[in-house]
């Protein structure tokens, strides 16, 4: 899955490199028109393209598999008989899912930086606020964006963990988690549901553009952290409540 994620920026870069015609500004994903001029933008465009579907999908697969996958293999009972306490098992599984979130976001970022540097010139980056920052600082910003995206996925991972405790069929948990992430984004697009939007775990997913300003607007980072933390607490507690009382019959 990480390899597939890493392939996204490669695809973008190669596509831009092969088409001679200039990409008109305002068409395609944000910043796509900048790629030919500065390879660093491959990473940013890659992130924009992966955050709505591809990244949540991979996180849904990993987090949906956490408990249900063990149950499906029948290894859950042996882990608990080893004995691993249920709280401990849940914690380790969630930390594993978080590690995947970070690895996934970094894969897109680093893959984008590498392929961008290989195919295009790289140099100082002009930010959304009009300021220009040096190459080193720009790379740092991209790593920061990866951190923001990883943070954005924590809530979804917690939801997946909870769903995973509900079933012994991992595919079901994965699908349900993926569907929820899409459904949340659809709800987020309906203006009639304005009151709901701040509560959706997808609400701040695109907020990482604020990291491309000078000075950095940390507001969205903070709101996102709070939102994701809330989801982690609520769904972590639900997952624990479910697993600690569940009869392990798989």
């Amino acid at each position: 899955m990480l390899a597939a994620l890493g392939a996204v920026p490669v695809l973008i870069a190669v596509a831009v490199r092969l088409t001679s015609s200039e990409v008109p500004a305002g068409h395609g994903p944000q910043f796509l028109d900048q790629v030919a001029g500065n390879g660093l933008f491959v990473a940013i465009v890659g992130m924009f393209m992966c955050i709505p579907l591809f990244l949540p999908l991979t996180v849904a697969v990993v987090s949906g598999d956490t408990i249900a996958g063990e149950a499906g293999h029948g290894t859950l009972r042996y882990l608990l008989l080893a004995p691993a306490s249920r709280a401990h098992l849940l914690l380790v599984k969630y930390l594993g899912a978080l590690a995947f979130c970070l690895a996934a976001a970094l894969t897109v970022a680093i893959g984008g930086l590498l392929i961008g540097a290989a195919l295009f010139p790289v140099g100082p980056v002009t930010l959304l606020s009009g300021d220009t920052i040096a190459l080193g600082a720009a790379v740092l910003r991209i790593v920061l964006i990866a951190g923001y995206v990883a943070l954005s996925l924590c809530g979804l991972a917690a939801v997946g963990l909870f769903i995973s405790t509900l079933t012994d069929v991992p595919v079901g948990a994965m699908a349900a988690t993926a569907v929820l992430s899409v459904a949340a984004q659809i709800l987020g697009q309906l203006p009639q549901l304005d009151w709901l939007h701040p509560w959706l775990f997808t609400h701040e997913w695109f907020g990482f553009a604020d990291l491309l300003r000078e000075p950095i607007l940390w507001g969205s980072f903070g709101r996102n952290a709070l939102l994701q933390g809330g989801y982690v607490l609520v769904f972590g507690a639900l997952a624990y409540g479910r697993l600690s009382t569940k009869d392990i019959l798989s």
């Binding site: 293999h73 029948g74 290894t75 009972r77 042996y78 882990l79 608990l80 008989l81 080893a82 004995p83 691993a84 306490s85 401990h88 098992l89 009382t245 009869d247 392990i248 019959l249």
Partner: protein
């Protein structure tokens, strides 16, 4: 397996002599229901320390559900469980490290090697010593004869090899209690023998072994104690001798004088149950257990000898008295024996015959 001739004693399965403090597993009033289905009903078990305890019952009789409750995987609907002197599932953290288990068949990650699987499960045990983990796992693999295949991914294992790996997992750390759910499932005769030896040596070293099985012969060869389950209820419980003695004995008489013999037996208080076409031995008859009070006669066309069976209720006349009476009445006695039902007959009698599973 046919019961030996014996006087009708009543070494009944009254009570095992063990006291509460000496029990490795004790349950009382244990019940579990899933919705409206009662998987286990009002189960009392007493497994003495150091015993090899057979937990016998046909498929779907609640054995595995009981084992899941004993190990804290499922919580009982009602009743109490003590394992190694501690209540379950509340004391699971202290009890489970002392218990090795194989529950409802082995389960492993197919893409990890056998050794890696065991190492992973051992790493999940906070009490296991990480330093000699590799040594303990390798020793366990060797014990079950998997040393050669330990590096192979589990998806390449046969069912029997997985079963061995499951047993190895139960042996990786030293345990006071082994709970083995159908341990010889899928094993070849050689493997079955090895498991039997293994269990005997574990028991010899003082480990209590709790084995569930639907195979009577397995229980009969390995166990000192047994409980029989049927439809989620315990229908028998005790040492193997007690279980054998439990059934009603029957007198088997070979005689050409059927009518006279029947009359005598009836007078002696025996319920006439069956008279079969018998030439010489009684082994030709069907394996059905003797229900008290029925009656049947079957004459042999080949010979004039008829086999008459009479159920001997407790406290009835002894064998000598019956024979003396028969002879006095002029019945030609060509053969006489007292038979007890074999364990298999007891098992079938207790759990019912046929393929319709309980549900």
């Amino acid at each position: 397996m046919t019961g030996a001739a014996a006087t009708a004693g009543s070494a009944n399965a009254a009570a095992s002599t063990a006291h509460t403090g000496e029990l490795a597993i004790e349950t009382s009033g244990l019940s579990k229901s899933f919705g409206r289905r009662h998987a286990v009903t009002d189960l009392d078990l007493a497994v003495p320390h150091g015993s090899v305890f057979g937990f016998l019952g046909p498929n779907g009789s609640g054995k595995t559900t009981t084992i899941r409750m004993l190990l804290g995987l499922a919580s009982p609907s009602s009743g109490t469980i003590n394992v190694l002197g501690r209540p379950m599932p509340t004391a699971a953290k202290d009890v489970l490290p002392r218990v090795g288990a194989l529950v409802e068949g082995p389960a492993f990650y197919p893409f990890l090697s056998g050794r890696a699987n065991l190492l992973r499960l051992d790493a999940a045990n906070p009490r296991a010593d990480a330093e000699d983990r590799r040594r303990r796992v390798d020793r366990a693999l060797e014990t079950v004869g998997l040393a050669q295949a330990a590096g192979l991914a589990v998806h390449a294992y046969s069912l029997g090899m997985k079963q061995r790996l499951g047993i190895a997992n139960a042996l990786a750390t030293d345990h006071e209690l082994l709970v083995l759910d159908e341990p010889t499932n899928g094993l070849d005769p050689q493997g079955t023998r090895e498991v039997r030896h293994l269990i005997a040596s574990m028991a010899g070293a003082g480990t209590t072994v709790f084995i569930s099985s639907h195979l009577l012969s397995e229980i009969e060869q390995m166990c000192t104690h047994a409980a029989v389950m049927s439809n989620g209820r315990r229908v028998a419980h005790g040492t193997l001798e007690e279980l054998r003695a439990d059934g009603t004995a029957s007198a088997v008489l070979h005689t050409p004088d059927e009518q006279a013999a029947r009359a005598v037996l009836a007078r002696m208080g025996l319920g006439l149950v069956e008279a079969a076409a018998g030439t010489s031995t009684s082994t030709e008859r069907g394996a059905a257990v003797v229900p008290e009070g029925g009656a049947a006669v079957e004459a042999s066309p080949a010979t004039d000898t008829v086999v008459v069976r009479g159920a001997m209720p407790e406290g009835a006349a002894t064998a000598e008295e019956i024979v003396a009476e028969l002879v006095a009445a002029g019945v030609r006695v060509r053969g006489f024996a007292i038979e007890r039902p074999s364990l298999e007959e007891r098992f079938v009698a207790l759990t019912g015959e046929g393929f319709d599973l309980a549900h």
